[in-house]
């Protein structure tokens, strides 16, 4: 199921502005890889290039290669819509569809892609909600609007929605930054369970979170405002936080940055 991501020489632009430059890294399957770095260093831009969400913005484009196992996501004849079915995404702010119930939200990906029979849907919805540790809280009110849940529940609903389409990779762009510590803990526990089935990439501003949940950590930085962001190093999380090979990483993780 889970796949390895190979990025080589990737740069991303917004119009003429180069947001990230020449990034190469490997994301291992069935593991959690965390991206850390100061604001504006291109973490979010980079994670959005991994499922071709970057180009949704007007004027945005990408150079370089992203390989999922051996297939180039930016190769000719690749359909970005199909890519996004393989590489799912959870956003910073919980964004359940306001017109849909909890059930419909989870089923949205499958229903809108029209590939599933109604009898199977119940099972998939239950499995996804259980996978997102939300089932027990919502099983009695599946027909209530998704927007009526608390922030933390909404974010888990969004995770359930993302895993319902059975992607190979799950990208999470600061999934806990709008949540309280208890909801954050619930999601971190969930990430630990999900990595057995998915390859997970998570952007976070919280270094303790990176240390807690990730197997490998990538540190991004930018030399100055207006300059493109770069990958400084990627290594085992333990090494990044104890004995990184680059001085800038050590300064950042120990709080001596800037």
């Amino acid at each position: 199921m889970a796949k390895r991501i190979d990025v080589s020489g990737l740069s991303a632009y917004y119009g003429k502005f180069k947001a990230i430059e020449d990034i190469s890294m490997t994301v291992e399957p069935r593991s959690v890889t965390a991206f850390i770095g100061p604001s504006g260093c291109g973490k979010s831009t980079f994670i959005r290039t991994l499922n071709r969400m970057h180009e949704v913005t007007t004027g945005a484009r990408v150079e370089g290669k992203v390989r999922l196992d051996d297939e180039d996501l930016y190769g000719q004849g690749v359909d970005p819509v199909a890519v996004r079915r393989v590489v799912g995404m959870v956003f910073q702010r919980p964004n359940p569809f306001p017109t849909m119930s909890i059930y419909e939200n989870v089923a949205a990906g499958l229903k809108l892609n029209g590939k599933v029979r109604k009898s199977e849907l119940d099972g998939i919805v239950e499995k996804s909600l259980k996978g997102a540790n939300l089932w027990n809280e919502v099983k009695d009110r599946l027909n209530r609007p998704g927007a009526g849940l608390s922030g933390g529940q909404q974010q888990r609903l969004c995770i359930a929605r993302a895993i319902a389409v059975e992607p190979q990779v799950l990208l999470m762009d600061e999934p806990c930054s709008a949540l309280d510590p208890i909801s954050t803990l619930a999601i971190e526990d969930l990430i630990g369970e999900l990595k057995e089935r998915f390859t997970i990439v998570i952007v976070t501003h919280n270094m303790q979170q990176a240390a807690r949940v990730s197997d490998r950590t990538a540190f991004f930085n930018l030399s100055a405002v207006g300059q493109p962001g770069r990958l400084i190093e990627i290594d085992e999380t333990e090494r990044i936080f104890s004995n990184p090979s680059v001085k800038a990483t050590e300064d950042y993780v120990s709080g001596r940055f800037g």
Partner: protein, 357 residues
């Protein structure tokens, strides 16, 4: 003035932070109003003004000045300004509401004389316009048919245009479309009528019909619906579109299943308001539908009547019986538009995104 004496004064030395100030008692506005009216009546009698409106204006002016003066003396200038602006705002509200209330009152009062079941179910066919009798069934039917056809033509075009402008439109074509929509918004209804007249009746020689009127009404309706739909689509957060894309849903399906359902309440309201607007249009109907005394259920063939045109024609007859019919028809027209508006609000509330709380 007693209000000044009754004001809640600040006890000396108990306000080290300087955050308390004297307040006028709650009955002050009423007292000032009574004072202003009494003064105005006295002044009116002294100056021998027979006109109640003049006395009323003097009272209003005195009330504004009096409120400011009393408040400034007791509460300070900032509070006085607040009261002054509040009074002016209420005054502006009343000035806006008076014509509306008066219009509805007058229409109901005069319209109810002949408005009954007979009036609603009969046409003017064979009825002498100088005498009482007859009804507006043919006109109501014509209006409903013409407006329905115009809506069926205009709404799909306008919705697709708005979707194009918000979701796809880039570059010159989008700029041009926006520009022409703006130009269309400013087209006077008589010009839209003349356009269809020259095309449909003069060049194509297809004759007067309800459908010709519907074409002109559709031209008037399209820009209104495009504008309101555009605004509603822009209100849909981009995050919802991205959430849908991230599930691997194609763009067109995202628009149909996520963006449009999220904004359907607002879009419906916009459409209903546009319908309400074209329902009252007279000029294009006069040019293209021509009017009729008899029931014509077929909007594609022959002249038809319509409510606004009926009001105009009855009024032009110039006798009491016709005037009564005109008022009754005006009342029906207002009620029709109001029902549509209520319907729109109901649909908007029913379809609005639910929070579940």
């Amino acid at each position: 003035m007693t209000a000044v004496e009754d004001a809640v004064a600040v006890p000396a030395g108990k306000d080290p932070l300087g955050i308390q100030h004297a307040r006028l008692p709650r009955w002050t506005p009423a007292a000032v109003a009574i004072g202003a009216i009494v003064l105005a009546v006295v002044a009116g009698a002294a100056a021998d003004l027979g006109n109640k409106v003049q006395v009323g204006l003097i009272a209003g002016l005195l009330y504004v000045v009096g409120t400011f003066a009393v408040s400034a003396a007791v509460e300070g200038v900032r509070q006085a300004k607040d009261r002054l602006v509040t009074v002016l705002m209420w005054g502006a509200f009343l000035i806006a509401v008076i014509p509306l209330a008066s219009l509805i009152w007058e229409t109901v009062d005069r319209g109810k004389t002949v408005l009954d079941a007979d009036f609603l179910t009969h046409s003017m066919n064979g009825v002498l316009t100088i005498g009482p009798g007859g009804g507006l069934y043919h006109a109501l039917l014509g209006t409903i048919e013409q407006v329905a056809i115009a809506t069926v033509i205009a709404v799909p075009i306008a919705l697709l245009t708005a979707v194009y402008l918000v979701e796809y439109g880039r570059g010159r074509l989008a700029t041009a479309v926006t520009f022409f929509v703006d130009v269309m918004t400013g087209i006077p209804s008589i010009v839209a009528g003349l356009f269809v007249l020259s095309l449909w009746i003069v060049i194509l020689d297809l004759g007067y019909s309800g459908f010709a009127g519907s074409l002109a009404l559709a031209i008037l309706m399209i820009p209104v619906v495009v504008r309101s739909t555009e605004e509603m689509l822009k209100l849909v957060p981009n995050e919802l579109r991205e959430a849908s894309y991230a599930l691997g849903v194609p763009k067109w399906k995202t628009i149909v299943k996520v963006v449009l359902p999220t904004s359907v309440g607002g879009i419906t309201t916009g459409v209903m308001l546009a319908v309400a607007r074209i329902t009252g249009e007279t000029a294009p109907v006069l040019l293209l539908v021509f009017g009729s005394q008899a029931i014509n259920t077929n909007p594609f063939d022959g002249t038809q009547a319509s409510l606004p045109l009926y009001v105009y024609q009855q009024w032009a007859n110039g006798n009491q019986a016709s005037w009564d019919r005109a008022w009754a028809a005006a009342l029906v027209l207002i009620a029709f538009v109001m029902i549509l508006n209520l319907l729109a609000r109901g649909i908007a509330r029913w379809k609005a995104p639910k929070t579940g709380r």
